[in-house]
Chain length 529, copies 2
């Protein structure tokens, strides 16, 4: 008698366990609880919370997650089959799995003889007994048991009979799901498809799929297994995970719902996909991948002139789906190839209604052309572009004027002495403000001096943070005297915006980008109340 | 008569054209030339250089690339079929394609009726004539012609007969390759496989595949098409490209050579895969993706306790391939694994004979580890790496000592006054030299002051030129106070070399890279007489 419904395809999230193995991922206990809550609200059926036997933080998760009163998700505790030559009752790790008191327990076991011999250093028979004993024991304690067959595809390719015997053992012991794992991520989609199909036809228990992205094929491998009959798909939000990451559930969900007609989410949830992706990145302190399929900032960004032109004639001519379906939106990038239509579309995005024959459009185009000739690029500096549009199409009063800045950098290696200092003089609201600050470098010092000058008038400036900063030499044939483009990404904790500055002098270019960033923030702040 | 060999699978790189459509990608002309040279050395068969009809920079590429005397790659110019209702001879864009004088011309044309009607606003017959005329015209001028069938899979799904008619038209007009494009990136692998297989069986001309990553399936889609009979695969290095990017050639190559037994590179080149990936990222000023399959810094990084433990028993238990095959290496996130043989090879390149058991190798490895932890990258800064090796393995006397530098930058926008000045104090050959210079920015001023100080002792320093200069923020979570890596490329008119410097202060980082560059040049000069 299997606890799980056998016909419905279910999502199994392992962001909190396998995802946390990613090199750059470090979750605190409260991070894990917040993510579990969000995944539950989103409609993920299974949430793997951690390995209670591996560390106290994971163990605490299972007691604390109960107080969240999740709406629908089942929490799974992860562990492994019992140790070789030890009774299951005596295995400390299995005991902790029970003590986690989760409704679901997922245990990983070997199905590749190479690993049985070389890693477990045990026999074929003992490994089978380890699988059987562990599944039976957990079932006898009323758990829904999921058996993850580690390295299943490698095992199957090297010894099909033994690999099948391992999962038969789990099935007969009462496992509710058997999950085929491409642990090393090296299998090709057609291998996954064929093997999954063979397994599905020889097992009664529902089959799941767990893939990794080592060949850049994790999503395809998972989809192929589902097509071949798998009823559970394991993965992580945004593809977090060891090495190159696990299968990205975000892309799997979108492909299933929008391309394969397989409903896996409650009604109305798909349009929260982008929000979920950003939420988890935010908690994990990972910079969102702008190129992330479906949900990335650039996923529906159009730069090529021919594409933009075609989009005006046929809205979705260069889009595989309507971006709104996954909570994303189209972006028209303004650059070298822009024409009037780009400007009109862009102004509309910014809430400025504009007719194609408005003479100011030509003024905007001339200004862009002039600035691009100097080395500006607006494709990835939308805030600077918005300010440029506003200045011509809907002018606003300036917030402050720079009167003077001075930067001094002195280094005496022999005396191990180094100082970088900036002074800044601005006029603001009729006052003259003069400040000085030290910094790690000229831009840092200047940034600090400017904030110091503004904080009296705009105390919230403390929320403003520089997220990223890039420098690019434009015409590289003149070496250090070439033009320099500085790109800055800023945030106030809610929104992210990018600005750009160009000059022969890196300090001035940085200053211009910083200035735009602060002006954009001030404009937004004053206009939104 | 088809110019292209029909049995061999060939790689077609479009990093410089479709890749340049990526939101964050901005190539200068010299960037494009450098990448073309590297791709040729690596063994890519076709290099698409740009769209001569779209901008002057792309047009110049085709004249300048000739002087590179590429070893084996064929350069392709990209364009589209002629305009509707215009003779092919009168079409300016087609004329520029011929004027580019590339051996190969790739033209994109419609194969989806929706686009014919709604975007081109023309008829079924006229679109077929546009394909036929354009291919015939370019063939009659002796070009190898590749026909990119845009939106082929969408077109095929909506009107199979018309889509096939489009490519038949190109075939009969003499096209050497017909490339099926999943332009919107929305197709599933099994659709791509089935349709490609049907097309291959109905055409004599070899078929190519061009995919995009909108569904996170670009690599799988390309591999599936190859399995179904495609003989050309188009993509970009690191998957650059519009929206979510093009098919990543790096992963395609590795999967083909290591998983599918399809040789696509000259002997010995596969192990340069990681180096190529980093090289292109560096030129494009794109932060390398640590999770990039095969070549990423984390691709063979092991964090999980059980994995690390298993690795000790069985070296490749959690790796799908030997990382050395693609020039990558294993990283154990606790403890360290040596690359002694790499150092021996590198030293040999520099003319330093070294035994594997030389204790200085460990000192070199420790130093690299220490510097990499600070943010240094030596893959693309071989001169700095050579100096590092020399300092430990074959020390040389230093040429001069920096005693002090001071940079001052003052700007008064209201008075239109701006000055940037650097003073520098060095000791050289027992003398103390003190110089001052102005510059366009702090690095320029410092560079000029240093040259001024050295010119009396090394008059040939006038030949030294900075070719390129790039700045990258390493840890971007602290904004302007993050570490900064400066990469500099220099030349004396004969040789080109690259150096690197890292600091919290951009001026100091630049100074370190400049210093290495000059020291490398002085060392070379004194040792070669």
């Amino acid at each position: 008698m299997h606890t799980a419904a056998t016909n419905q395809l279910v999502l199994y999230d392992t962001t909190l366990r396998d995802g946390a193995q990613g090199e750059d991922i470090h979750f605190s206990l409260s991070d894990k609880l917040r993510i579990a809550k969000r995944l539950d609200e989103f409609g993920i059926a299974y949430i793997e919370g951690g390995w209670p036997g591996s560390n106290p933080k994971d163990f605490s998760f299972f007691s604390q997650v109960k107080s969240l009163n999740l709406k629908q998700a089942k929490i799974a505790a992860f562990g492994s089959t019992r140790k070789a030559k030890l009774s299951v009752e005596e295995d400390q790790q299995i005991r902790l799995l029970l003590e986690a008191q989760s409704p679901v327990v997922t245990i990983v076991g070997k199905s590749w003889l190479l690993h049985v011999f070389e890693v477990l250093k045990t026999s074929e028979e003992e490994n089978l007994a380890m699988i059987r004993d562990s599944v039976q024991f957990l079932k006898s304690h009323g758990r829904e048991v999921i058996f993850d067959a580690e390295h299943f595809f490698d095992g199957y390719k090297s010894n099909k009979d033994y690999a099948l015997q391992c999962i038969k053992e789990a099935e007969e012991a009462g496992a509710d799901f058997i999950v085929l794992c491409d642990t090393n991520g090296g299998s090709l989609p057609w291998e996954i498809g064929q093997i999954t199909s063979e397994v599905c036809s020889s097992c009664k228990v529902p089959i799941g799929i767990h893939t990794h992205n080592d060949g850049e094929l994790a999503v395809a491998n998972a989809l192929w297994a589902i097509k071949a009959g798998a009823r559970q798909v394991q993965g992580t939000i945004n593809g977090y995970g060891e090495r190159t990451g696990n299968c990205n559930l975000i892309s799997v969900i979108a492909n299933l719902e929008l391309k394969m007609g397989q409903k896996v989410l409650p009604d109305g949830k798909l349009k929260e996909l982008r929000e979920l992706s950003l939420f988890v990145d935010e908690i994990a302190n990972v910079r969102p991948n702008p190129k992330a399929p479906f949900v990335g900032r650039s996923a529906f960004a159009h730069k090529g002139g021919t594409h933009v032109n075609a989009l005006q004639k046929l809205l979705r001519s260069y889009e595989h789906i309507d971006p709104a379906l996954v909570g994303n939106h189209r972006r028209i990038l303004v650059g070298e190839l822009s024409g009037k239509s780009n400007i009109v579309l862009k102004a509309k995005e910014l809430g400025i209604a504009l007719e194609e024959n408005n003479p100011n459009i030509q003024r905007v185009l001339n200004k862009i052309k002039e600035l691009e000739a100097k080395g500006y690029e607006f494709e990835s500096a939308e805030a600077s572009f918005a300010l440029l549009l506003r200045k011509i199409l809907a002018p606003y009063p300036s917030f402050f004027h720079l009167m003077e800045y001075h930067v001094s950098i002195r280094q005496l290696p022999s005396k191990n002495y180094k100082v970088c200092e900036a002074t800044i003089k601005i006029s603001i609201h009729g006052e003259r403000v003069y400040t000085v600050a030290e910094g790690d470098g000229p831009v840092h010092a200047l940034d600090r001096a400017l904030r110091e000058a503004l904080v009296k008038f705009y105390p919230e400036i403390g929320q403003l943070r520089l997220e990223d900063y890039k420098v690019r030499i434009i015409d590289s044939t003149e070496g250090t005297a070439s033009s320099i483009r500085v790109w800055v990404e800023s945030t106030d904790g809610k929104e992210i915006w990018s600005t750009v500055g160009v000059s022969h002098d890196i300090v001035e270019a940085s200053w211009l980008a910083l200035f735009d960033s602060i002006e954009y923030w001030l404009l937004k702040k004053t206009e939104n109340g």
